[in-house]
Structures are given as C-alpha cells and as structure tokens.
C-alpha cells in the first residue's frame, strides 16, 4: 500500500507511516523512507503485480530511483502538506475551491 515507506520494525504487514488529521481532515502524510535498494525493487515488483491486477493506484517501477539508492542513501523521512487543504482549515471552508483556478470536471 505504501511502496516507498519502510516496513514496521515489529509488526508484519505494516509500514512506518503517519497522517496528520486536523478537525477530521487529512493535512499531512509522512513516512520513514525505504533506503534498501534490494527491498525497494521487491516492493516495486509487488506494486507492478498489483497494477496488472487492476489496482490503478499502484506505483510503476522506478528503476532510476532504485539505482539512486545503490549510491548510498542515509536514513530519510519526509512529509507533504497540501496548502489548499491547509487554507481550507484556516478559512473554515467546506470545499477545495480555495484554489485560485480549480480544474473542475467538464459539465457534460
């Protein structure tokens, strides 16, 4: 489910990842990044199988990324915050139209 996240140290089937929720809304998504190229390729291979089974959210194999891991990657973590969602929170808005020019699905 999270191909770039490192597996949990003690609980099989889980990865080390968290999400921050404020007022019932997800703001932030973060994980310990996998830095072992062998395991990363394995993980991508599994995703590929999932994709071929119809899981549209599965990530494609990124050979360049796996190669980069082979040149030494320190233990790494990070997070991404959607500034539009954060703006929704600050302005108590109920939908994502805090974007200046939101791309909406065509009317027809």
């Amino acid at each position: 489910m999270s191909p770039l996240a490192k597996w949990h140290r003690s609980k099989p089937g889980l990865t080390e990842r968290f999400q921050l929720f404020v007022n019932k809304r997800e703001l932030c998504y973060a994980y310990t990044e996998l830095n072992d190229p062998v395991v990363q390729r394995q993980r991508f291979a599994e995703q590929l199988k999932d994709r071929q089974s119809g899981d549209d959210e599965a990530m494609a194999l990124d050979e360049t990324f796996c190669t980069a891991l082979e040149y030494g990657l320190p233990p790494t973590g990070g997070w991404g915050l959607g500034i539009d969602r954060f703006t929704m929170l600050l302005t108590d808005s109920q939908n994502i139209k805090v974007l200046l020019f939101p791309a909406m699905k065509p009317q027809d």
Binding site: W7, P12, P75
Partner: protein, 543 residues
Amino acid sequence: MSSSEFQDPAAAASSEAQVSKKAAKKEAAKLEKLRRRQEIATASAATANLSVDEEDPLGGNYGDVPLVELQSKTSADVGEWTRVEALGGALENRSVLIRGRAQAIRPVGKKMAFLVIRENGFTVQCLVQAQADTVSPQMVKFAAALSRESIVDVEGVVSIPSAPIKGATQQVEIQVRKLYCVSRAVPTLPINLEDAARSEVEIETALQAGEQLVRVNQDTRLNFRVLDVRTPANQGIFRIQSQVGNAFRQFLLSEGFCEIHTPKLIAGSSEGGAAVFRLDYKGQPACLAQSPQLHKQMSICGDFGRVFEIGPVFRAEDSYTHRHLCEFTGLDVEMEIKKHYFEVMDIVDRLFVAMFDSLNQNCKKDLEAVGSQYPFEPLKYLRTTLRLTYEEGIQMLKDVGVEIEPYGDLNTEAERKLGQLVSEKYGTEFYILHRYPLAVRPFYTMPCYDNPAYSNSFDVFIRGEEIISGAQRVHVPEFLEQRAAACGIDVKTISTYIDSFRYGAPPHGGFGVGLERVVMLFCGLNNIRKTSLFPRDPLRIAP
C-alpha cells in the same frame, strides 16, 4: 518480508490468472534480475561477515549497522552528534560522533587506514589505527574494505596534527574508536566524484605535464545526477538557485505583491506558438502551460493588484541550444500600471539589484565553490539599471557593421554582440532593452501610443543573454480579440481569458524570468543543464 505472504491464497490464485502471458514473462525477467542482484548482495554481505566472523573481542566496535537499528528504534535525540563543520581545535581530546560519506579510503599497510568523511561539503580526516585493547586489525580491515560514498558513523577522539591537513576542510583529525556502516554504496561507482569535481584548468595543466585526467561529460553527469550533484560546485549552484527564489519572493512581498499558484493544465496555448505539449484531459484536448500569462492577468482583473508566481513552464520546442529546456522554472510577475510601463521596469531594476546584492553577500561560499570548478568573473551591474531602446541597440550594432532587419527580432549572436558593446560602453553586463517592434511580441502586448509598429515591451539581459521578457498588456477585450486574430490565435480557445476583461480591467503589465538562466548567467556557466537539477530537454526525460 513480502506482503504477498499475507495474501489470501484464493485471491492470489485469482490475481495470477489475470496477469497476461506477456506481462508474466516480463515480470519473470524482472524478478530474475532482482534475484541475481540479491544473490550478489548476499555474496558481498557474506564476504563482509567473513572478516567480522574471525574471533575478535573488539568486534562490537565496527560493522554494518543492522536494519533494525535504523528503524527509529531510539528516541529522537541528536544531541550526541557533532557536525563535521563544527570540528575544530576546541574539541581536542574530546570524543565525538559524526555521520557522513566516506569520500576517500586509503589503507596504509595492515594496521592503519585513513578515511576522509564528508558532511554537507565539509570534510574531516579520520585515522583507524590498530592499537592493543582499542582498535583491532580486523577493524582496520573493515575500514579499508568500505566502498566510497557509503554512509558511515564514526566515533573517535579529536586530535590536532602537527602539519596542516591538505585533503580536508577541517584542520583536526579523528582517532577512530568505533566505525559503523549505515548505508553501503556499490563498490564501483559509474562516475567518481573526484573526476566530476575537476575543473578544465586542472585537466589542461595535467595534460601539459603528460598526465591524462578523466573528464566527465555533461550527458554522463546527467545520467548519474544523484552522484553528480554531490560535487562542491553543484551543491553551490543549487543553493544559489534557492537564494535567487528566496530573494525574488522576499523583495516582491515587501513591495506588496501576492504570491499565487495557477493551473498548468490549460485549454489552448497562451503564447501563440505551436510548441505546446498536448494531452487528453478527460476527453477534452488540453496542453501544458507555456507560462502563467493568462491566469496572472486574470488575477489582476480579480483585483489582486500585484501578483507573482514561481512555478514550472513547459515549451515543446526542438531547441538543442545551451540555454533552452522543455521544462524550466518561471519567476512571473504581473501588476497594475498607473501611467507608464516603466513602472514595471522600475520593479525589475530594484528587484535584480537587490537580488544580486543578496547573492554576493549571502552566497560567498557557494560562489567560491562554483568558481573553483567553473571560473567566472563577478557580474558587473549598476546601482540604477541601464535602459536602452530597441532602436538605440540596433544603432549600436549598425555602428560596428552588424545589420538587423527593420522591425526584426534579435538573434542570439546579435544579443551577445550587443551585450559586449553595452559592457564596453556603459560598464554593465545587466541592462534593459525596451520598445521592441510589435511584430516580434506576443498578441497581448500593448502597442506604443505614438507609433503602433513598436510596443510597450522590454527584454532584460545578463552577460548578453536574455533572462526576462516583459510588457504592458492589452486590457481592452475588443482590441485583444483583434490582436489575437492578427497573430493567428483561435479566439475560442482563450475566450475565458478575453471575457475576464469585460468586467472592468485595469491597465497592467508584467514580466517572466527564467530561474535557471539567472543562475547560469550570474555564475557565467555555459550550459543551462548545469543549473537545472533534473533537466528536461528534447532528448532527456530521465532521471
């Protein structure tokens, strides 16, 4: 461990049936490749373990760090670590713990090895010397067997050697007591950092002395970008670039501009060209924006007054020059005008003088790092930026025998030549050329009130190359339709843009800057790919 171990057997069988034959074959080939790599990894791990397995009572002082120790096992307290940058004489005889890359590894016999450890560009020499009860010969062997660019933790005692240390930035040495490998790099790297960091001057000097040193070509660098960007010059380039973005943002905020974020998925091309990337957008034709032009103008119509954006720009041009990319970062500005388009040029003037001052003050180390590998003269600029009209520029070129067709655009050669002439005559390598012929400007450009063959527009140059195009915009919808039609634009594809001027539109103007070009030219570099972290040109979409 594999998540497939916990899959329902029935579901697994079902999913296997769905995999097509061809895909199965492809996947099998990938898994075979994976198995082979795993085999090699296991073999080299076994080799490493072999040396560790010799009976060593001090075996706990070195080795590969097992994964479980790197899974956030201990609490988030980093106080025990010392940054390589902070290592100095004041820490003499103190025990320190550092983490960095093994940049150089030099065994001296069987009882001694030197390591140079690098963290954020700072380096320190570490000595692993066999000593009874403290450092075992097996530990020295482990140190010598590390691969370059591996990430290691080193614990040791700081000492001050009698002679200056030539191969490191820090003038202290660490007497290693513990050494652990956190992330092992492959033994043979595709490019050596020492080679990638070498200047042309060094290569030429060595050549004259009869020695052939390795030169790493630009394409090879880009193929292995994750290694290439570790060089001091590349670290410097992208920290300078970061500061350009920061100076841009801080200056404009201080002048009352609001930062906006506009869509890159748009319905039609905004610049009148055919060089757009086209895609299918949920059944509708769409393309990637060549600039945020139309949306930043719509933002002015939406009463933001003054706006700016830092974002990606896409140009599907088959340009293979040193200064073109298919995707680059645009620094875009748009603002209301009260009387004259010079109000926009005034912003350009103050913005860039402030930016150059900021770079010269805050990026000395980075500029030195770039200059060590790619020597350049500091940029010459005036406190008040020179402004020349297009006609004045053309005349300067004519005076030295360079002919430009009337109302024509300047090509790269002419721009470079004019840059030389301006530098000689006015002592500046940063200047503005304005009042371009209308025929060479985009459809939304405002013509001059006194001669409609010319326009209220400008370009800005650094070292004879363009970094900015700017202008006053047409804000009257009927006139805009006229101009669009005259330039061969399908008015229907930009109807939302034109309509935005029907609800009251202030006179306005703005400009767009290429971030990569600013850094390239400020540092006197010869290729824009050096200032793009992962460049996209007509031949490259990886890494």
